[in-house]
């Protein structure tokens, strides 16, 4: 991970302006806007509230920022909703934001049977768009997709790109939804404040997911739990208990809830009726000792670009020609990208009937089965595996054997098989067999 965003605080998100990253600075009591190389291009001081502890996670739902922080004196946690303010409206079309304004919060206080301790949360939100142009004054609009819109939801419209209303935003409260036509009616005196064209953005936030370290399950209250809160009602929709929810960072994108659990990024697709995981991927979160976990402090799921951005202060990189690993620790927090498209992540080797070339009754060969898998632990098809052998440094001198064939393409099960024939070296030698995926 080369140094990139160089954040002093362990939180980040995307924001209203693409190409920039945002982070909450506890010492500055501000939202900081940075370029991808860490250049600070703006700060927005907090207003109407403060950060009482460092922000552990920051999210942006298309309109609002959301923060998670511990309450003082181990009282629990609080999730706050913020917005860059002021924003352009039909009444104030010439303003620019200069502060980070608090709007609302969900405060979770520890109780006798409930303990709140969390590093990760996510906002279930959806990015919609207008289906056609709509003029100011109407009380019905048509969306490109209404499947996640319900009566009572607040929709945040804009910024508009309609001439005369460019940059303006507003909110409406849904009265009814026609799921066939995707028409949404709303009650607002005078109707729409602005005019919009097709594809102008609309956002809606629905629920809050909190990954709690505790599960309130009596003696097993350290098990982890996913708690879903209705918003803005702030009531608990459900709690699902399980160690898989002991996450350190999370995000929501499209319909996917993603979180980091130890070495993996786990995903749940909310369009499925239960909370079974849709994927789990190994995410390069191991130090060069091949054991020590690298913590991810915040996560951006950018699934339209098939990537995750993991905020870390340590990173392991592989020198591709040699395969050697190096872990570097940074004084700041930077992101490492993890692609969601399949790539070769591990190669295992099985030697039968034996790893020893000893007095076999019939021949002196070893069948080698190589399994090539991706970060999802799924087989990787149609990859060429090159086999080679070398004498181990602890071995007596000798000549390594040969492979037939020496290069094999993996089948649909991700398996490449070859046969090793040892050399006629009479000594007791140790041979390192290597399978490289080309």
């Amino acid at each position: 991970m080369p140094l990139n965003v160089r954040l002093t605080d362990a939180n980040f998100s995307l924001g209203p302006e693409s190409g920039f990253f945002y982070s909450c600075s506890f010492s500055l009591q501000s939202l900081v806007k940075v370029e991808a190389d860490g250049t600070v291009v703006g700060t927005f001081p907090v207003s109407k509230s403060t950060f009482r502890n460092p922000i552990t996670e920051l999210h942006f739902d298309g309109t609002f920022f959301w923060t998670l922080e511990d309450l003082p004196s181990d009282l629990g946690v609080v999730i706050k909703r913020w917005r860059l303010f002021p924003f352009k409206t039909v009444f104030f079309p010439a303003v620019t934001p200069f502060e980070f304004r608090w709007f609302d919060e969900l405060t979770l206080i520890n109780g006798p049977n409930i303990r709140w301790s969390s590093k990760a949360f996510a906002i279930e939100h959806y990015h919609l768009a207008f289906d056609g142009s709509f003029a100011a004054g109407v009380n019905t609009i048509r969306l490109d997709d209404s499947s996640n819109v319900s009566p009572g939801n607040k929709l945040y419209l804009g910024p508009s790109t309609f001439g005369g209303f460019v940059g303006n935003e507003e909110e409406i409260t849904v009265l009814s939804v026609n799921t066939t036509t995707n028409d949404v009616t709303f009650s607002k005196g005078g109707g729409l404040e602005n005019s919009y064209i097709s594809t102008d953005p609309i956002t809606v936030h629905k629920t809050i997911f909190l990954f709690n370290d505790h599960s309130f399950g009596g003696s097993e209250n350290n098990r982890g739990a996913l708690v879903n809160f209705a918003y803005p009602a702030k009531t608990t929709n459900f709690t699902d208990i399980g160690g898989k929810y002991a996450g350190t960072a999370a995000d929501f994108d499209s319909t996917i809830l993603s979180w980091v659990r130890s070495f993996q990024i786990l995903e749940v697709n909310l369009t499925f009726p239960n909370f079974d995981l849709s994927t789990s991927q190994e995410s390069n979160l191991v130090e060069d000792d091949k054991n020590t976990l690298i913590e991810v402090f915040d996560l951006i799921s950018d699934l339209s670009n098939t990537q995750y951005l993991k905020l870390q202060n340590r990173e392991t990189v592989e020198d591709l020609p040699t395969g050697s690993l190096t872990t570097t620790t940074f004084p700041t927090f930077n992101f490492q990208a993890q692609v969601t498209s399949s790539f070769v992540n591990s190669v295992s080797m099985e030697f039968l009937p034996n790893r020893f070339v000893l007095p076999f009754p019939d021949n002196n060969t070893i069948d080698i089965t190589t399994r090539v898998r991706d970060q999802f632990n799924f087989p990787v098809f149609n990859k060429t595996v090159q086999f080679s052998a070398a004498i181990n440094t602890l071995s007596d001198a000798g000549i390594p054997g040969t492979f037939s064939p020496s290069a094999v393409v993996t089948n649909t099960s991700g398996i490449a098989e070859t046969v090793y024939t040892p050399s006629s070296t009479p000594n007791d030698i140790i041979v390192d067999v290597t399978a490289d995926v080309l």
């Binding site: 070495f263 190994e282 054991n291 030697f351 034996n354 020893f356 898998r373």
Partner: protein, 429 residues
Amino acid sequence: MVQNIRLINPNMVRVDGYFYSFNEETDVMVQKADDGTLAFAYPLDTPISQEVTSLEHDGESFWTMENIDGTPANGFRIRRWIIANFIMVLQSTFTFASDAVDTFESEAFTVEHYEGTLTSGAVENTSTFNVSFDTDVFALLTPGTKMFIGPSSKSGFVGEAESVTVNSTGSGNQVTVSAPLSQGYVSGDKIVFTKNLWFFSQNFQTSLGVGALYKASALDGSVLGRTQGGAFLDINATTYHELTSFTGALIANNKPYLVFIRTTNLLFVDVLNSNLPIELSALQNNLSADTTEVFDVSDIGIEGATIFRLQLKFNINGSETTESTFNYQLATFVPFPTAIALTATPAILPADSGASTSVIVATVTDQYVLPFVTSPASTIQFATSGGGAGSGLSDTGQIALNSLGQATVTYTTGSTAGLVTISATVTIA
């Protein structure tokens, strides 16, 4: 340096070319390749607070052993886990807490399990099929035994698997299960079942430090038997495996064994014999170069005829290393020569220029301390030094080892008094 799988914890099992190990700090089961590369990690749905001291796999489930708390003599837990939806899901926990009857103290256990195949296709929505197990193993399929079938190779069901419960058995190795199969299978598809848990305890009931092997039900964890024995003391590594690689004199040992490491030996117990005989002992090389220290083996895994011993200390060709992580050292079930015993009869001769002779017998033994016999025969070559002019051996070429692993030559005296050294080198056929 001996660094391969680089595990933090002293537990390991080998399955389908990968190594698996539980870690209580991150509450995951890691899946690693031979060089320690993390291939995948499975979060535990239930956290564990104590280090897992032993890990087993029965073809379907992973089984772990951990102490109840920081005092080993307080007892331990054995848990069964399965991989479901990318997570390690706890299925059952058996707690062996010390009480007035038993002082449980163990770091090694294994799961008696058997793997066979369907000998006929098994049709979905039916309850009867035939299996390949030998008679003594088939007899273990008592009503209530859980079996795991799959993955299926039948078109339309490829990759599917399921657990079933034995209802009854019949002639021709026929099994009837308690509920119809939900999937279809073809002849040759895998079927496994688990019977008992076996653990080594430092104590026999409340007699401390005497060693014991306990048998417990894999269904409910109830203790089914206890066998006292010093051979069962200080055991840290064991597993259950059906051996298939033996040939020659050892071919009768191709059967299921509970194998465990006792100091520098791998011992083989036949648990299908109620007397629990130790039928084989194989020398291991977990010994320091000066032979004064036995290196602990924390767990063992088996693949074919290869044994993976999980250790912190290693002696590779006389070079000793101590690692900060657990790595494997290899051993094999295939016999190989570990010792050559030379006898000279008589051992002392006059320097009488050929008037006296001594019969030199070399006996070659393998790691099982059995005669080293191969087909075709391996050979041995004798050499001598000292003795002066005229001294020598009757044959200095390659001599075939006989069925006792022996070869014989005659030494004839020379004219010089002094020490005569005779050596021998084996060449494996």
